[in-house]
């Protein structure tokens, strides 16, 4: 072979091999990263392990929300052997899990390893699925662990707790606000898989453990929350409240929320179901029109998820007078000894403003205008403060800012909701109506926080609902300490205001008499406001009835604010319908909190007496024992010993109540028919029932007032009752005070 030929052939070979080396250089050195990441993507299998969501506890570590292990069923379509097995899987799973068979068949067609058939099934069902898979030797059916959220008490504290979505993400309330703490960090298993999807016998498996979520300890007290919810629920039904009712119980010294509720609310286990009667009516009205129904349903769902206390600013009405009064005393523009004359109306800025009492309140001192909730009196107080000072205090009470409570969706404090300093200075009329709580809006949480400051010594606290955040091992990770934002008024003025507010409830001419509880020194203020930006079907402005009560007035501990939004009945005044709700809550919460009752001499004199046990005693001795307790006695029959007594031993009955003693076998019952005693005065009730030989227990508000009437009786009309039985009758003050 000629050398030239050899050179040519070698040259060609070198060109060929050199091209390959260049090509290798490009793929392996220049573009290596691209191919490498693509290769890893197909070779790596990343499995996430969901962490357990933290628990929500009340302040006494009662569980309010908890996650439990459940199972998710998924199939690996590529592992399905043949058409027969596909059919078997679809039929079997659709029967067991109640999933549409067509949908399963559709998922069987996919070319991957993970198609969820059903999420969150309980253990027994999961066991059945596993059994089905093993029985039929199907490797394509798999189950994996997951978490499900449980709210053991149903709709209890629903608006505080919130709820979680499909992937356990917090969507509302604490679940949403503390989602990051509660949800934890998912774990990951990175493993190598071959092209068939099974694991490669390869060493780069990597496991990162999931970190379970932290638990949250609320300031909420399950018991007080229960009292509040029970009272609100009854009030909503009794007063036909159309736009839900809200209530807040706050520790006035710390700003801790002890209870917060809305009625009606929802069940966090099933948050999309609407339960409110009026909402259901509105939904029924659009039934048939699918589009409209869907839209309405969404509106109603959103509404029931709202926590009114923090998301709905409203006109506080007369409850705000507490803050006007406190500001004026602190500023010194008003004194306790000032005198105010109310003629039923007041001229200011060229306009006439009427008092709610058209006849006028006459001449009153400072405590008087608070007790009577006298509008002209407060116009004078406000006017004397001046717009500049009024605004300064308004700001100091925290009403121009959000409270910063640790719940999602807080509203309030935006400048469109209240009057600017300039407006208050310029317009005497605006200042005048603002002084008694009209024409501006605050949220219930802003109001109760401000009033707490007015009565706790003057300190504006930051309200909060989460006390501690606890990790999975029970160690406290974070804890909230009470925070004083600022001192708004002096402690002297604060204690003065507390005692004036106690008189609102305890004085015979006080407007808050319906909240009176013997021994507990309840203070409070009524409020009724018209919703000026809304009209009902009759063209009237719907009302909001509210009451803010606290106790004990000499050392305030808890405050309760209740607002009934759009009650629909004859008497919509806060004094009539909201005050009893607050009273009900305080009456149960104060003994629970260990607040010792301190009775006045007058209260002691009015206290009930416990019936002594005289059973099997000789008649004469029995009579002596009863009269000794200053109770009356009536003996039925001529036997020598007592064989039955009504009321039973230990039952409290009012002083001058009567005990019936039966002495003869065969003559041990004397029944009467229970009459209706609702709507009567105390005197009338007493007469009617004592005439029938029944014992009367009147619930302890000022019974002598002319406007006090009975509203409830413990034994329904028409029931046959034994003579001597104790009938409890509750009274409300029907005095319509704004």
């Amino acid at each position: 072979m000629r050398k030239r030929m050899m050179v040519i052939l070698c040259g060609l070979a070198i060109v060929g091999f050199a091209t390959l080396i260049v090509r290798l250089c490009i793929i392996q050195l220049v573009e290596s990263d691209i191919y490498q990441s693509k290769a890893e993507k197909q070779q790596m299998r990343v499995t996430t392990i969901s962490p357990k969501r933290g628990t929500i506890y009340d302040r006494n570590m009662n569980v309010l929300a908890q996650s439990a292990t459940v199972w998710t069923v998924f199939i690996s379509p590529v592992d399905i052997k043949d058409a027969a097995q596909k059919e078997l899987i679809a039929t079997g799973l659709s029967e067991l899990l109640e999933v549409d068979k067509e949908k399963i068949l559709e998922k069987c067609e996919k070319k991957n390893y993970y198609e969820v058939i059903k999420k969150r099934i309980e253990k027994p069902l999961a066991d059945k699925v596993t059994q089905f898979a093993t029985d039929n030797k199907i490797s394509a059916i798999n189950i994996e662990e997951d978490n499900k959220r449980y709210y053991p008490y149903g709709n209890f504290a629903a608006n505080i707790l919130g709820f979680v979505g499909e992937d356990n993400q917090g969507l509302n309330g604490i679940e949403s606000y503390y989602d990051e703490e509660l949800s934890g960090t998912p774990g990951r298993v990175v493993s190598a898989k071959n092209a068939w999807g099974s694991d490669m016998p390869y060493k780069y498996d990597q496991m990162i453990d999931p970190k379970d979520g932290n638990s949250v300890v609320l300031t909420i007290d399950e018991t007080i929350q229960h009292y509040l919810e029970k009272a609100l629920e009854t009030a909503v039904v009794e007063n036909n409240v159309k736009n839900r009712a809200a209530g807040v119980v706050m520790n006035v010294k710390t700003g801790e929320i002890l209870a917060m509720a809305n009625k009606t609310d929802f069940d966090p286990n099933d948050p999309f179901t609407v339960t409110d009667t009026y909402a259901l009516e509105r939904l029924k009205a659009v039934e048939g029109d699918e589009e409209a129904y869907k839209k309405q349903l969404q509106i109603e769902q959103t509404a029931q998820w709202k926590n009114k206390s923090i998301t709905e600013p409203y006109e506080p009405g007369s409850v705000f007078k507490i803050l006007t009064a406190s500001s004026a005393l602190d500023l010194g523009t008003s004194k306790l000894t000032d005198s105010f004359t109310c003629t039923g109306h007041y001229q200011i800025g060229g306009r006439t403003i009427g008092c709610w009492k058209l006849a006028g309140h006459g001449t009153q001192d400072f405590a008087g205008i608070v007790k009577h909730s006298c509008n002209p009196g407060f116009i004078m107080v406000g006017t004397r403060m001046g717009g500049e000072n009024f605004y300064k205090y308004f700001e100091a009470w925290g009403l121009t800012e959000k409270t910063g409570i640790d719940l999602p969706g807080e509203e309030g404090g935006s400048s469109s909701l209240y009057h600017s300093e300039a407006t208050l200075v310029k317009s005497p009329h605006t200042l005048a109506v603002s002084a008694f709580g009209q024409t501006f809006k605050v949220t219930p949480i802003q109001l109760i926080t401000a009033v707490s400051a007015a009565i706790n010594g003057g300190n504006l606290m930051s309200p909060y609902v989460v006390k501690n955040i606890v990790d999975a091992d029970g160690n406290i990770v974070k804890s909230t300490e009470p925070t004083v934002k600022r001192q708004v008024i002096s402690s002297e003025v604060s204690s003065t205001i507390s005692s004036i507010l106690e008189r609102v409830v305890s004085d015979p001419d006080g407007s808050g008499k319906s909240a009176y509880i013997a021994g507990y020194h309840v203070g409070g203020k009524t409020g009724t406001s018209e919703k000026i930006d809304k009209k009902d079907e009759n063209g009237n402005e719907p009302h909001i009835a509210s009451f803010l009560g606290f106790a004990p007035a000499n050392d305030p501990q808890i405050a309760v604010l209740v607002m009934l939004d759009e009650p629909f009945m004859q008497n919509v005044y806060g004094s009539v319908i909201a005050a009893p709700v607050v009273k009900e809550v305080l009456e149960e919460a104060l003994p629970y909190l260990g607040v010792e009752p301190q009775y006045t001499a007058e209260e002691l004199a009015n206290m009930d007496i416990s019936v002594p046990s005289v059973l099997k005693m000789e008649v004469e001795k029995a009579k002596a024992a009863i009269t000794e307790k200053s109770l009356k006695v009536e003996v039925v029959g001529s036997g020598a010993t007592v064989i039955k007594q009504v009321p039973l031993a230990g039952q409290p009955i009012p002083r001058d109540g009567k005990v019936i003693l039966y002495t003869e076998e065969g003559n041990v019952s004397n029944q009467v028919k229970m009459p209706n005693v609702k709507g009567m005065t105390a005197l009338q009730v007493n007469q009617t029932l004592t005439n029938l030989g029944l014992n009367v227990k009147l619930s302890g508000i000022d019974l002598n007032g002319s406007t006090t009437i009975s509203s409830k009786q413990s034994i329904p009309e028409g029931t046959m009752v034994e003579v001597g039985t104790v009938v409890e009758v509750s009274f409300v003050n029907n005095d319509p005070v704004e």
Binding site: M6, I27, L29, S32, Y35, K38, Q42, N194
Partner: protein, 375 residues
């Protein structure tokens, strides 16, 4: 005759460089075949050693064949050339009656293994062409002696291989044949004419419906394999991912991930992708250089051969190894469109390896005489 004079020459020592290169490639090839095949063998055959066991057996047989042929006077092939060609034709006809595998009839099953007649056909072309070139002498430039017989021999074999069908093998044989003709002295104007005819055929083919679309889609899948990742681009993509994953240093011997069922049949045509993944750019380049050295050494032996016949046999066998290596690696790296050409010494295929080693033995046999001439 001139030929007979050379036959009398005494044998010298074999070309050690060439032998060492062959042995390195055989051992390297076996190691890589084992590494590339064991996952596939485990999952498909339940025995990780399924392929390496067979390959080892054939490699041993091949080494024996190589030893035999390097001690065998290659001049004997003067007489064997046309009988071998006849056997090749016979087997290429027989294979057409075999059960098709993957739509083609390329293998004859003879009990202990399968065998591709195209392997014999390649050698048949090399040996007959060498024979013709040797006896033609100065008549090579004529059409009658220097072109026509070659074209007829090639066409018969290529025609039968197209029937199998075995296009890549046909292209390979045509390439070997053409290079031998050029090196042997066939007048280049015939190639120019053949080229013209080929171009004309291509131009006519453009007007056959479907041909352009088919060609365009082949080119499209070649230039952008990622356009059909699960279908036509799959093998190419998996190969590129393996090569790219290797980087400079590779994942280490045995550590390929792509061999876990991602690359289809990693022991066959795409074994080099696994080499790149495990040994990186450095290892892959070393292998390319080893092939280049082998080709260079083969051509040196051919050049030094004292007679035309030996020279042409050595040239033909060397060219075969060179073209196969270049085309295979070019396919694996997606430098050219996908065709089914295996990598000498590396790809699985016992009979092919055996044949290859036998051919290496013949080249070594040639080298013994060229070494003498030099002294």
């Amino acid at each position: 005759m001139k030929e007979k004079k050379l036959v009398k020459l005494k044998k010298g020592p074999i070309d050690l460089t060439f032998l060492i290169l062959v042995l390195i490639l055989v051992i390297f090839g076996l190691i890589m075949l084992f590494s590339a095949s064991y996952a596939y063998a485990y999952y498909h055959d339940g025995d990780s050693f399924f392929y390496i066991k067979k390959q080892l057996m054939w490699a041993a047989l091949g080494i024996l064949a190589m030893i035999f042929f390097c001690n065998f006077d290659y001049h004997f092939f003067h007489r064997l050339a046309f009988p071998i060609y006849a056997v090749a034709i016979l087997l290429l006809v027989v294979v057409l009656f075999m059960e098709p595998l993957n739509g083609a009839r390329r293998w004859i099953n003879f009990g202990i293994g399968t065998f591709q007649p195209s392997e014999i056909a390649k050698f048949a072309i090399i040996v007959t062409f060498a024979q013709l070139i040797a006896i033609n002498g100065n008549k090579m430039s004529t059409f009658k002696y220097g072109t026509l017989p070659f074209v007829l021999l090639l066409c018969a074999i290529a025609g039968l291989m197209v029937l199998e069908p075995h296009l890549s093998g046909t292209i390979l044989i045509l390439s070997i044949g053409c290079i031998m003709m050029i090196a042997g002295g066939t007048n280049l104007k015939w190639f120019a004419i053949a080229g013209g005819v080929l171009l004309a055929i291509v131009l006519v083919a453009i007007f056959v419906p479907g041909v352009v679309d088919y060609a365009m889609s082949r080119i499209h899948h070649w230039l952008d394999p990622f356009s059909d990742p699960q279908g036509k681009g799959f093998q190419t993509i998996q190969s590129l991912l393996a090569i790219g994953s290797g980087g400079l240093m590779g994942l280490g011997l045995g550590n390929s991930r792509q061999k876990y069922l991602y690359i289809p049949e990693p022991q066959n045509d795409f074994v080099f992708a696994i080499v790149c993944e495990e040994l990186g750019f450095i290892g892959a380049t070393i292998i390319v250089i080893l092939f280049a050295l082998l080709v260079w050494r083969g051509y040196v032996i051919a050049m030094r051969s004292p007679d035309k016949f030996g020279s042409m046999i050595a040239l033909g066998c060397t060219t075969q190894v060179g073209i196969q290596a270049i085309l295979n690696i070019a396919v694996v790296t997606n430098t050219i469109p996908n065709t089914g050409i295996s990598l000498p010494f590396f790809s699985y295929g016992g009979t092919a390896l055996c044949m290859l080693l036998a051919e290496m033995g013949i080249i070594l046999s040639v080298s013994r005489y060229s070494a003498l001439e030099k002294t």
